[in-house]
């Protein structure tokens, strides 16, 4: 599991940003849409928004390790924002805050998954 402060902070920043941006984009677009459409479109839009951000963040923090959780963060935040926006008025600030929290939660889940793989994988002992 990643323990270097530079990367832990970078991962946090990237995923919070991906979630926030996805949340704002979807909140601005999906207001008043049917809930199911808002959810699906929000997930897709959030994923795309994060995919566009990830290569830039990857320059500093490594493309693969940044891109995969950022896309999940974007999709999850977009889905949440899409559902919320379709059921009422979702302010951009609230969408950004919720999206950032979702991004941090997704990152935490990814770190746990990574720890699982590290524990399960074979270690070279020679």
């Amino acid at each position: 599991m990643e323990r270097r402060v530079y990367f832990v902070l970078g991962d946090l920043l990237c995923n919070a940003a991906a979630g926030a941006v996805a949340g704002v984009v979807v909140a601005l677009v999906a207001g008043g849409w049917p809930p199911a459409l808002g959810m699906v479109a929000g997930m897709a839009a959030g994923g795309v928004a994060a995919m566009l951000l990830a290569p830039v963040a990857g320059l500093l923090f490594g493309v693969l390790e940044v891109m995969l959780p950022m896309m999940v963060s974007g999709m999850a935040a977009g889905m949440l924002a899409g559902m919320s926006a379709s059921s009422g008025t979702l302010q951009a600030g609230a969408a950004a805050a919720r999206g950032a929290v979702v991004g941090v939660l997704v990152l935490a889940a990814t770190y746990l998954m990574n720890a699982y793989f590290q524990r399960r994988g074979s270690k070279w002992t020679y």
Binding site: G58, L59, V63, L64, V72, M113, F117, G121, K123
Partner: protein, 207 residues
Amino acid sequence: MDVLTRQKWDRAAGSYDLMNGYGQELRWAPSKRRLFDRMRGRIIFASIGTGQDIQFFPPDRDITGIDISAGMLERARPRAAGYPGRLELRQIDVHELDYPDGWFDQAFTACTFCSVPRPVDGLRMLRRVLRPGGELFMFEHTGSRYFPFNLMLNLMTPLSRRFGPEMNRDTVANVARAGFEVAAVEPVYLDVVKMIRALAPAASGSR
């Protein structure tokens, strides 16, 4: 030589260090150092690209670095010149290695078999040029077996293969298909980035 692949990587050479440079190399540095510390004997490194990995090579090794792209090798030359050991660079397709059977003691790859057009054939060629019992060490990104990462990597691959690597290959299975004995697979990041150690069997002299 596979002209389309050569041209693709010649085009990518100019921006390769920017896109795969600082962040990625810093992230992977500890794992790569640990992998390359195992370098012993006569070594083939496929594909060496712009030579970003040379900084992680232990000194005083005998290494032949190959790549299909002249553009990549041009950028690798200054790095190779600074290596404190023997490091020869050659432009050659991994499918068409012209070394005798069993010439090398070890083969190393780093983000190579995400891009080789016929990975099993390329790996078979590496197996041929390895001595019986010779070791293959790989640092590779692959597809994932787990949702949602497998979905994302599958969706990205049709686009990514136009400019660079495929994101969803099953490289561990390809190593086994090529006739190697897979000895260890160590995850670096999720089940996507991994280090693989495999052995050429005693009968590795035949293709």
